[in-house]
């Protein structure tokens, strides 16, 4: 069920009607659960087995972890007086090992399924001469696996209690607006919202619909138009000149942002209709002043997930604690460089590991590994060499807090991001290298007219880009205030913009017979 189809809109309307008229208030969440599974079955019943398996294993693991934790606490309380400090420490360690084992089994099973389906053919052909298999990726497997495994880790850490109701957990795993492309939810913030019965609110409906409209504008007018050009180039990548390839990468930057953020806006808009606030996944990423800042603004939920469940465990692991201690106590550790390195080494290495995994998450191809490593290396180097850059700024009397420098930083960061995008847009790693060679050899625009976008299409793209830019500048200046809040204070402008958004999407949108409706980019993950 494509988000851009009339069936989807009808589906939302029906589900909303049923939800808000459901007579058993405390069981309203069952409407969302039913809708989620209906949505999932629409894509193919055979995929449902995987999400059910994940749900069941997640549920059982969380219950067991919860039980083990509670039993351990009970035992500790009972034997508080009898046990010595050593015995208590030993018992705690044993409990922790057991919990870790249980959690690991669940993580290995679920991530194993994801890894097998996503990466078997890649490893089979890249490293071993094994036959490839006809494998399919169930809808949203990356997203719901990460979301549910995050929950398992949270139960292990005892930051959230285990959900006793398997049906409620099933809703958390399968909540339909976010199944296709996130955002990846955290149990703590999402679950309460899912299970709490919400009353109909005009404000929620209005906000949700407006956000959806904005999402459809970005997706249908901008993203799907830009992808026509990108596809026509990648269909015959070798013959494209450097100028065309550079333009393609720039278009890709626009298309990827419009597609992904547009999809997330639709997702969040749908959720908001039901009174559920999903976390933001984008905050004007191309305004980032550093790569780290970029990843705090782009696919925020993925970044947060990796931060909570990979970055901190790696950075704060015993291994790095020992290394940093060694550095600090060494001769080198007495120098200013040594002091700096001993502080930032764990986070630098952890960043590299995280971004390697981010690359791998994106897909089974060396180009994605390169994409991830590129970002990781940049962050690692910039973290390690920060004192050097600060020193240079001081020596050159560069005022780092003024507008000109910040704009320079934005352009610099955007250029670095574009390098990563070259790996994304090229069909494979070798063609990514070919792209750099062609761009920097200034080999011209080739026959521009052979690529499938007219001058008017480019005009629409440019106008759309200006619209996004202006709204982004307004939001950035108003420190993160939602555009809807800003517009709600100007009702006439608000309604006029809504009409223009509808009209522009209907006229300029890429939809209908004769157009190949492009799937959301992140749906493939």
């Amino acid at each position: 069920m494509n988000y851009t189809s009339l069936i989807f809109l009808t589906f939302i309307a029906v589900v909303a009607l049923v939800y808000y008229t459901f007579p058993f208030k405390s069981y309203k969440w069952t409407v969302l659960l039913t809708a989620s599974y209906v949505f999932y079955f629409f894509t193919g019943a055979k995929y449902a087995a995987f999400i059910i398996l994940t749900t069941v294993t997640t549920y059982i693991t969380a219950i067991i972890l919860d039980k083990v934790s509670k039993n351990a606490k009970k035992q500790m309380k009972l034997n508080k007086e009898q046990w010595s400090k050593e015995e208590k420490k030993k018992f705690k360690k044993k409990t922790d090992i057991n919990k870790r084992l249980i959690m690991t089994l669940c993580l290995v099973l679920n991530f194993g399924i994801l890894a097998f389906l996503k990466y078997y053919n890649f490893f089979a052909t890249s490293f071993f001469s094994l036959p490839t298999l006809k494998l399919f990726l169930p809808l949203g497997i990356s997203f719901y696996t990460f979301q549910s495994m995050g929950y398992v880790v949270d139960v292990y850490r005892e930051t959230v209690p285990a959900e006793k109701n398997i049906a409620k957990l099933a809703l958390f795993v399968s909540f339909f607006p976010q199944i296709i492309q996130g955002p990846i939810g955290i149990y703590d913030s999402l679950a309460t919202q899912l299970y709490t019965p919400h009353k109909f609110s005009y404000d929620n409906l209005s906000r949700g619909v407006r956000l959806m409209m904005w999402g459809y504008f970005k997706k249908l007018v901008i993203a799907d138009r830009a992808v026509m050009f990108i596809n026509s180039v990648t269909d015959d990548y070798i013959s494209a000149g450097g100028g065309i390839l550079l333009l393609t990468v720039l278009m890709y930057a626009l298309q990827l942002y419009a597609d992904f953020s547009g999809g997330i806006d639709i997702t969040r808009g749908v959720a908001e209709i039901f009174g559920i606030n999903l976390s933001e996944n984008f905050k004007r990423p191309y305004f980032a002043t550093t790569i780290s800042d970029y990843w705090r603004r782009w696919h925020i939920s993925l970044g947060e997930w990796f931060k909570s469940y990979l970055f901190y465990p790696v950075a704060m692991s015993g291994f790095f604690t020992k290394i940093c201690k060694k550095i600090r106590t060494s001769k080198f550790g007495k120098t200013s460089a040594g002091v700096h390195i001993s502080k930032v080494l764990p986070t630098s290495i952890a960043s590299l590991v995280v971004f390697f995994m981010v690359g791998v998450w994106h897909g089974a191809n060396w180009k994605y590994v390169a994409f991830g490593l590129w970002n990781g290396v940049i962050i690692m180097i910039s973290t390690l060499l920060k004192p050097c850059f600060d020193y240079i700024n001081v020596k050159l009397h560069i005022k780092t807090d003024n507008m000109a420098f910040q704009i320079f930083q934005m352009f610099r960061t955007f250029a670095i991001v574009l390098v990563g995008y070259v790996f994304d847009v090229a069909p494979d790693f070798s063609l990514a290298v070919h792209t750099f060679k062609n761009i920097f050899s200034f080999s011209g625009l080739t026959a521009f007219s052979k690529y499938s976008l007219s001058v008017l299409d480019f005009a629409v793209l440019f106008a759309g880009m200006i619209v996004i830019f202006v709204s982004s500048v307004i939001q950035e200046k108003n420190t993160d205030t939602d555009m809807r809040e800003i517009l709600s204070k100007r009702p006439v402008l608000n309604w006029v913009l809504m009409f223009l958004c509808i009209a522009a999407t209907l006229v300029f949108g890429i939809y209908g017979p004769g157009y190949d409706a492009a799937d959301f980019v992140y749906m493939q993950f």
């Binding site: 008017l456 009702p491 309604w495 009409f499 509808i502 009209a503 006229v507 017979p513």
Partner: protein, 374 residues
């Protein structure tokens, strides 16, 4: 309370503005303009219950028949409710459709849409849309769209979905708006007539088909739709329908197979008590010159059109007693204008043919302005 009132009014205004925007765009801008849209649209602008004979069929009819000439010679009104590549699946809908605004004494169905070698056109949205896109919204239109053998039915119900990409053709957009405004509530002058002023070489020898009763089966779904229509006519006691075949240059190969399928159709149609006339057999009677009166094997040019119209008009009068229509002064004047412009059109096309120009002149504002100045 005031907040709720304001909010309700705002929502209603937005809905009205959006619906109005889509409706106006669909009506005036985002539609496909060609001879089919002008012809089908034009039918609905005819005065109610003023048409004596309606013709169904495909391009053979609009190329081979002139309603203006028929009125001039015999005094009855007629209209070709035809589209390029018409299909058997649409005939019943078309019959019901014309009944909404007209009550013709005779419906003549040119049978070409029943004679295709296969059922491919059944799902060809280009051809289906030539009819469906131009039907006004009605119960019949909804039923027709729902019964189409075509997946994207919603875009047939709302053509805006298909044609919104037309905004890129800015000059075309201007022409579409101009033509819609020009024809708004105005009956067409040429009554759907169109022709080609070029010529496709007459290669191959014609086959003698006189008394040839060879049959070839109709395409499966086509036969199903034919029988369905005949059953519909029978059960509704419809007796003002006649099946005809306009004259073609029948040669070895596909055109002969088509002729053979026409024989099969003849048998089926007659078994239901309806009449069928194959005017392939009357080429000499019409005085048609197979070299000079056709622009290709299947279509008459304007010279052939005039001969065919003269013959067919007399056929309607003699066989079906189609008498001279008693029109009011205003209607009579409009039909007289049609006659006038028909002859101007013949002259114009004659000049184009003699100058070797390959044109497809059909009624639009620019052509009428051109004919007006003659």
């Amino acid at each position: 309370m005031k907040k709720y009132v304001k909010r309700t009014i705002s929502i209603i205004c937005l809905i009205i503005a959006s619906v109005l925007f889509i409706s106006l765009c669909q009506e005036y801008v985002f539609y496909h303009l060609d001879n089919n849209s002008v012809r089908i649209d034009g039918f609905y602008n005819e005065e109610k219950n003023s048409i004596d004979v309606v013709l169904f069929g495909t391009s053979e009819v609009y190329a081979g028949y002139s309603a203006g000439l028929a009125y001039d010679k015999y005094g009855f009104t007629s209209y070709p409710y035809v589209i390029d590549g018409n299909h058997a699946s649409l005939i019943k809908s078309q019959y019901k459709e014309i009944q909404r605004t007209q009550n013709p004494k005779l419906v003549a169905i040119e049978v070409n849409q029943f004679l295709y070698a296969d059922d491919k056109l059944l799902t060809d949205d280009v051809n289906l849309r030539r009819y469906v896109d131009n039907m006004p919204m009605s119960k019949n239109r909804i039923e027709t769209v729902l019964n189409l053998e075509y997946d994207n039915k919603i875009s047939c119900m709302f053509p805006f979905i298909k044609y919104h990409g037309n905004w890129q053709d800015l000059s075309g957009m201007y022409r579409r708006i101009e033509n819609k405004l020009y024809f708004k509530n105005k009956a067409t002058l040429l009554k759907g007539m169109a022709t080609f002023t070029g010529y496709f070489a007459n290669d191959g020898n014609m086959v003698d088909i006189l008394n040839d009763k060879t049959e070839k089966p109709l395409a499966d779904l086509t036969e199903k739709y034919l029988v369905d229509f005949l059953e519909y006519c029978k059960s509704n006691e419809i007796d003002n329908v006649v099946f005809v075949r306009f004259p073609h240059r029948v040669k070895e190969g596909e055109s002969y197979d088509t002729f053979a399928r026409a024989n099969t159709l003849s048998r089926i149609v007659k078994s239901y008590g309806f009449e069928y006339y194959n005017f392939d057999e009357n080429i000499k009677d019409m005085g048609l010159d197979v070299q000079k009166d056709y622009y290709d094997d299947d279509h008459l040019n304007i010279y052939g059109q005039q001969k065919m119209t003269t013959f067919l008009g007399k056929f309607f009068v003699d066989k079906y007693d189609i008498t001279k229509t008693d029109l009011g002064d205003e209607s009579a004047k409009k039909w007289q204008d049609t006659v006038d412009y028909t002859y101007r059109y013949f002259e114009y096309c004659d000049e184009c043919i003699k100058q070797g120009q390959n044109l497809w002149p059909y009624e639009n504002k620019q052509l009428i302005e051109k004919l007006k100045s003659r």
